[in-house]
Amino acid sequence: MKLNQLTIKQAQTGLKKGQFSALDLTQACLKQIKAVDKKINAFITVCDKEALGQAKEADQLLKDSSILKQKPLLGIPLAIKDIFCTKGIRTTAASKVLEDYLSVYDATVVKKLKEAGIVILGKANMDAWAHGSSGENSDFGVTKNPWDLGCVPGGSSSGSAAAVAAAMCLGATGTDTGGSIRLPASFCNLVGLKPTYGRVSRYGVIAMASSLDAIGHLTQDVTDSALILNVTAGQDPHDATTLPAKVPDYTQSLKKGVKGLKIGFPKEYFQKGIDREVEKKIREALKKLESLGAKVQEVSLSHTQYALAVYYLIQPSEVSSNLARYDGIRFGFPRKRFGEEAKRRIMLGTFALSTGYYEAYYLKAMQVRTLIKEDFEKAFKRVDVLVAPVSPTPPFKLGEKADDPLKMYLSDVLAVTANLAGIPGLSVPAGFVNDLPVGMQILGPQFSEALLFQVGYTYEQATNWQKRKPKIIS
């Protein structure tokens, strides 16, 4: 197996044993980027020079392997979604408004990952400002799905997903405001974590919708996801919404199994609009979990049908407010550079917040948000976790939904609920439909990430879907 195809865990073992150097590992990734990214377009910026420098530094430090206690991700090459500020490396949010923006500080998550020793390979492509479900809204060109270059990789963390799936990096950061990590993970056969709201700092991540934004990552498997959360989670004085809740070692719970766990499937997530084959895969996954000892039962989240409407009021409202700061005076370029989707959301949000409409739209949406949150709270009194599809369809064709915003928005219909309720969600590979990946999401109460990893790991070990790779990397 090539070095760039290793999981983070495997790479750590190899580095520790001296089987290869951090420089070998980074070079393998950069070589893969050169070989395939012309076709995929997963990166907006590749920083070869910096990456090689960081890798050499890591090799120096690795001479004493006890350093791994302080720097658990030493020498691990990752991609950073281009919405995380990186000091000295361009940060664009995939928008021409920020085409030349050089941040003077690192996002907290970037700072923590650097302190843990990672190598930054580059900045991953995305839907501009994280507005989108397909990756097609990037001002730096569409990203393609490594499993089928005619399909979208899912968005908005499109480049992050495509880069991991095509073995250009060992993992990538992402953001999830309404499915933007889980959807691309499900479309690219990856594990994607959307943590609890406030579990991971948002500081230095360009804000989309501040009451919904969650900072997570995409990896090849569940173990790697836990390894990264171990580094990124925790309270940050720069983000007042982060909570003081203790950060456990998330790898500790992985092997506890699912025996006796109560797993619910929300019946509303299996109703109209969902592709039959996708539904079949998720029902098979539930059977699998049952055979592994879980007790599976149907639950109802009765306000599910209203979630997307709530989301498409709250999210654009917050977007319009957050994007108001881009005036081209202090940094970046003037507002005329905003793309079509950003303009649409700014306009929609401005309307929902304007005099005479606030109560009817924004306030109403916040009230229904309460009902959606309460649905989950009630469900989690009966079951430990919920399992549902991430996307109502398998990966769709490039251009298929590009001209119909409402149709595109419906891709997120099963994902937005977790953001509205602030609960964590873990997307894990659940099989294939016509050779294209399908993902399932495991949802739990706030701060139940360890439990989600436990369920995800157990399922993953029993099915090994994550081991299947796209032809482009062989």
Partner: protein
């Protein structure tokens, strides 16, 4: 919730509020698309919510304070480093007042 249909003058007014310059083609397209989206979100009217408290903060945190102690901040040079135009260590903006 009011009727979903947006008028042309509403679209123009919103663009002005949001400081966006739209072409007439964009205005037409947005008028149609925004109306469709507002139509879709109109389904929330089916729910009675008069008694429901709104949720804006999901984890229940309130009034997060910190000690009022000074700490290092960015230098003036760093803060100005991304501005397209500066003058005498200030951001340069277009005139706001008429002469």
């Amino acid at each position: 919730m009011a009727q979903g249909k947006l008028t042309t003058s509403q679209v123009e007014h919103l663009a002005q509020l949001a400081q966006l310059t739209l072409t007439s083609q964009e205005r037409q397209k947005l008028q149609k698309q925004l109306s469709e989206i507002l139509d879709y979100v109109g389904q929330l009217n089916k729910l009675k919510t008069a008694e429901v408290e709104p949720t804006s903060q999901v984890t229940g945190l309130e009034n997060v304070f910190r000690q009022d102690e000074p700490s290092p901040s960015l230098s003036q040079k760093e803060v100005l480093s991304e501005a397209k135009e500066t003058k005498n260590s200030f951001f340069k903006v277009k005139a706001v007042f008429e002469r």
